[in-house]
């Protein structure tokens, strides 16, 4: 892990507080959504595998604050935070996780494939590293179409070992694409620390391609937002950049993972770095009190409950309609059912 850079905040005074409060809202939204999912998963209400980003919310909130709706992102298996912060429909999100016909993906994709093209969220991805080349192509499209947008590739530290990482870093640098690489370095790839998987740091790797890199505290949303704003502007005008966010995976690799392989002390220490806690302290120092925060929490809880209720009441997807989603328009003739 490289030494994180910790700059000052972007602004000060009233504006800064308002901005930070907006970021805090985003953090809380992600956290509460995931906690809700965790409970529903334990209750057997959410099917399949789910990978929660609890402890990593500041990356999503901070980076997405620097993006326009036209900017595109490609995400990972741990994609809820990215999707929510990019502004995907909350109703559509819960309905998808509960496999309803009203889900964003109409129950065909689930947690590992949440996507909302209308807000430039090109999809979570079940294949480690695959989002990198999707973002690369999206950045290429933005440049070709001269639409001023940028693309963002999110990936974990485990994905650093995939060959696609190298191919995409090289091509992005070679073509000076408007592509922001965001690494969420939580120290883990599934059940093995990435220190046992990587012989290099992202800092040194990025340097090889001449792509400017910065490593920051990914759990401090103010820090993430400040850096992301600056770097996204550079990406828009100059070309690729790497933003490495040092962060913490609080839950297991997926829900249901008891994390027996983890040092209990390490786990216990994580709460200090909790992004909500860090942001709340900053807000307190800025004079924003508990009340403002709990209002946000209450409001968000209500939104989530409404979304969950709507999802629960929604119909299940129909098989025939799903068949019609394989191709655009008429289906090819095929035996099958």
């Amino acid at each position: 892990m490289s030494e994180p850079t910790t700059p000052g905040l972007a602004g000060t005074g009233h504006n800064a507080a308002a901005e930070l409060l907006a970021l805090y809202r985003s953090l809380v939204l992600i956290r509460r959504c995931e906690e809700r999912l965790s409970t529903m998963f334990a209750d057997g209400e959410v099917p399949g595998f789910i990978h929660l980003s609890i402890g990593q919310e500041a990356v999503s909130a901070g980076v997405m604050a620097a993006l326009t709706p036209e900017d595109t992102i490609a995400s990972t298996h741990r994609g809820h935070g990215h999707a929510i912060a990019k502004g995907l429909s909350l109703d559509g999100f819960f309905a998808e996780l509960l496999a309803r016909d009203t889900g964003l993906c109409r129950g065909r994709g689930g947690s590992m494939h949440v996507a909302d093209m209308s807000v430039g969220m090109l999809g979570a991805n079940g294949i480690v590293g695959a989002g990198l080349s999707i973002a690369l192509g999206s950045a290429l499209a933005h440049r070709t179409l001269k639409n001023g947008a940028i693309a963002v590739a999110f990936f974990g530290d485990g994905a650093l070992a995939e060959g696609l990482m190298h191919e995409c870093l090289n091509m992005a640098a070679l073509w000076k694409l408007p592509l922001l690489f965001v690494c969420e370095n939580n120290g883990w790839g599934e059940f093995l620390p990435t220190s046992k998987q990587l012989s290099f740091t992202l800092k040194d790797l990025a340097a090889a391609y001449g792509i400017p890199h910065v490593a920051i505290d990914g759990n401090d949303v103010a820090v993430v937002a400040a850096h992301a704003a600056r770097i996204a502007a550079e990406v828009r005008s100059e070309g690729p950049r790497v933003l490495e966010c040092l962060t913490t995976r609080v839950r297991g690799h997926f829900e249901g993972d008891a994390q027996k392989y983890r040092d209990p002390d390490e786990l216990a220490a994580l709460s200090e770095r909790d992004p909500l806690h860090v942001a709340a302290s900053r807000l307190a120092a800025m004079g924003v009190g508990e009340t403002a925060l709990s209002e946000i929490t209450t409001e968000i809880a209500a939104r989530i409950e409404a979304a969950v209720a709507a999802a629960r009441a929604a119909p299940a997807p129909l098989f025939e309609a799903a068949m019609a989603d394989v191709y655009t328009g008429a289906q090819p003739v095929q035996g099958g059912v």
Partner: protein
């Protein structure tokens, strides 16, 4: 009608598609400055610029994945993979991303990309530069697969593939690049999924695609000397394939032989047989036979390769056997 080579027809289709739609871009290795390893994109950089005809590093996985991302973001990329054997490196982009995006995102967006690649032997290029792997792609829901046999269909199908909203694997045959054929002056687009009947006949139906169509036609000529009239169906599209035309032909002839250059076992022919046995069982007056490559990598030596490739003689023998 004008005479045109297969390679030129592909070049023309790329050029016309790019002229018609500014969102069409080409991406691949050595396709821009060099005009393509086989010359398919010659002159297009000069005409459309390096921004739309893009040379990539030797990074197949990323270039194919980039095509998916670009297709999701407003472009219509046509990617070239220099030899079909190298599609082993782009399977994730094609199968887990391109093919599934529309479905797994609930129909939010289609993936209008084409992956062009040449398959086939006959050049002594050996085991890693001659394979016919189309059966893999035909087995993947969400992909379409096309394989033209002559210049007119190469042009017409490539235009259709580029215009199609879904990902299409467009397979050319290296040994056909130099082939000349008649192409209508107005260069018509040919719909995907429709077979063509290249020769009519009452006794047996021979279904083939790509270069094997010519093997079938030669066999049909030989068989005519024995008073066996073979109908030759050029499949053109492999996924979706034109069941109706094949079934109608079978219903006329009651005998069917399927020919392709890919390995017989678990190849495209197996599906055609299986489907006809299901929906056309009552039409069958003899076994449906396949003529295809043996279960062996494509060998380097000319003699071995010739023995390996399906021949008109083997097709004729299969016809005689099913008629017996």
């Amino acid at each position: 009608m004008a005479e045109m080579r297969y390679l030129r027809a592909i070049n023309q289709a790329l050029s016309d598609a790019m002229a018609a739609d500014p969102s069409v871009i080409l991406i691949g290795e050595d396709i821009s400055e060099a005009g393509g390893a086989f010359g398919a994109s010659r002159g297009l950089r000069e005409r459309f610029g390096a921004e739309r005809v893009i040379d990539t590093p030797i990074s197949e996985a990323a270039l194919a994945g980039a095509a998916v991302g670009a297709a999701l973001s407003g472009l219509r990329p046509v990617a070239e993979i220099m030899f079909m054997d190298f599609t082993t490196l782009v399977m994730d982009a094609l199968v887990n991303q391109a093919a599934k995006a529309r479905f797994m995102f609930g129909g939010q967006r289609s993936v209008p990309m084409v992956l062009r690649t040449p398959h086939g032997g006959g050049l002594g290029a050996g085991p890693q530069h001659s394979q016919c792997l189309e059966a893999w792609f035909a087995h993947v829901p969400g992909l379409k697969v096309v394989c033209p046999s002559d210049p007119a269909s190469a042009y017409g199908l490539l235009r259709a593939a580029i215009a199609d909203p879904d990902p299409v694997v467009f397979i050319e045959h290296k040994a056909l690049y130099a082939m000349k054929g008649e192409v209508p002056d107005d260069l018509p687009v040919m719909p995907l999924g429709q077979a063509g009947i290249l020769r009519q006949g009452r006794d047996v139906s021979i279904v083939a695609y790509g270069a094997a169509v010519h093997t079938a036609l030669t066999a049909a000529t030989q068989l005519a000397d024995e008073d066996i009239e073979a109908e030759v169906v050029d499949l053109r599209s492999i996924q979706p394939w034109d069941e109706a035309t094949v079934l109608a032909s079978l219903a006329r002839t009651h005998h069917l032989v399927v020919v392709h250059e890919a390995v017989e076992a678990f190849g495209v022919g197996a599906e055609i047989v299986a489907r006809m046995v299901d929906i056309g069982f009552d039409e069958l007056d003899g076994p449906i036979l396949r003529v295809a490559a043996p279960f062996m990598p494509v060998p380097f030596s000319k003699g071995l390769e010739t023995a390996y490739l399906p021949s008109p003689e083997r097709v004729a023998a299969a016809v005689r056997r099913t008629l017996a």
